[in-house]
Symmetry: C2
Amino acid sequence: MGSRLSMNGAHLGFARNIPLFRGLTDAEKDSLLKDGGIYAYPRRNTLFIQGDAISSLYVVCAGTVQLSRSTPDGREVTTDIRSAGDTVGEKEMFSSGSRHQVSAIAVDHVEAFKLPAERVRAVAGSNVVLSRNLLASIAQSATQREVEMEHRATMKSSQVISCYLQHLCVSRGFDPRGFTLPYKKSLIASRLGMELETFSRALPVLKENGIAVEGAHVAFRDFDAVDDHTCGLCSVNDFCRAHRKIREERKAEGDEHGPENHSCAVQRI
Amino acid sequence: MGSRLSMNGAHLGFARNIPLFRGLTDAEKDSLLKDGGIYAYPRRNTLFIQGDAISSLYVVCAGTVQLSRSTPDGREVTTDIRSAGDTVGEKEMFSSGSRHQVSAIAVDHVEAFKLPAERVRAVAGSNVVLSRNLLASIAQSATQREVEMEHRATMKSSQVISCYLQHLCVSRGFDPRGFTLPYKKSLIASRLGMELETFSRALPVLKENGIAVEGAHVAFRDFDAVDDHTCGLCSVNDFCRAHRKIREERKAEGDEHGPENHSCAVQRI
DNA sequence: CGGCGTATTGACGCACCTCAAGGTAAGTGG
DNA sequence: CCACTTACCTTGAGGTGCGTCAATACGCCG
């Protein structure tokens, strides 16, 4: 369920700036947001579970949400991980079928806007910008998913992990020279469709590819080696090249301690 | 490239009735279709290849199109198979990025409407029904894709095939008591992310699950056994139950030759 | 300290991939 | 009509990456 919080300026300010609302006027955004409420979901609580009626679109303001599905034979598969700025339920809202096919679980303390699905559908039906944003968002994630399917079919686990870590670094704006995993390893392994043991065993292998993982700390040591395993799609290559360039420039400037500087610059691209 | 054909009534009539255009007025449909042309693509020709600029939305009128991607290490992965009534390129049209990430190849002789992407985007921007249809279509296929990822992660190949055959039977409206595979086995195997040998070896195993495959002929013998391996999502269960019910009713009516009647009732759900 | 959640490491089996050798069927040319 | 080719599929043998089970180690907190 989650407990309703009083909506404050921080929440509103955050939700106004999510990608899904880009291009909408503040009035349009507020007209949507004011119909919703902000809710808190303590760790391990569910926003909704598989089989629930689809009633809301969620905008995650803080915390991490795990989307998972229980298979008929009782196993749990993590389909995605959503964090602040992401939406939950946008895909299902427009699929046929009126019930959730996944469960959404708060991995840590989560705060999220809960917007009535009917209202969102109505606004999308009349507002070109929102409907275009929804289209772009869903199409983008579907495309990303196709790439992942390709990865799992053709790559070995260490390569899949390599690609995921790069994508994580890019999308979260972490410093490739050193950052901390934002989730537990077991969650990431599940997200990648592999067992924790497989994940754990694959990490040492990554060192050969220029990715050093010690505990929850990740560092990209050698961008050239990393590139070997990336797909041409996730635009991670460009990112790595850009960062390599930065590093080379820094070296040229005699800034030798650069690579050891583990400051986690949160710089969205 | 494909060679341009003169548009005839059959083409128009077909394209007017695709799911993507449901709810549009005939005038709206024709306004879109008249901006496009109908093209023929001989077997093995490409509609477009990976890296091409995204210029068009394709509506397949006849034939079969394989969507595939070549991985950096030179392998080919089939991401989807589209046939008459399906669209090609609708997802990429709304993703970020202006280039195709897959190649579209005519598996047999293909005829397709080619609609200017810019025009479709424009109409989607002003027409609520079309944009809603696009949303539904993309969201639906994305959801389906998630289920497939789950399948590949948790099921063994024979179960994946079982589920695919059922889905195929449902979506194409084949008679579950007996139908012919619409594609070559190698194509299906590739679509399912497995090797042809694995596919081939898995077919005999399916007999234990009530699915008899002889050559290109498929027959669902025992719906109860089949149900064991289905996911709760693809709504195949309902379909099978419905058909089982039909069969039982026929039996009750003394219609003994029913199961041997291989008429391929094309009944879209 | 002991208990708990999390991660690592080892041993083992199996499902799938890979390479390779038929085998069937349809089309081609003599 | 029969050899020959080509495309497609099947079947066999062997290797391996990953799942599984199990034991151990690590960090955290009461």
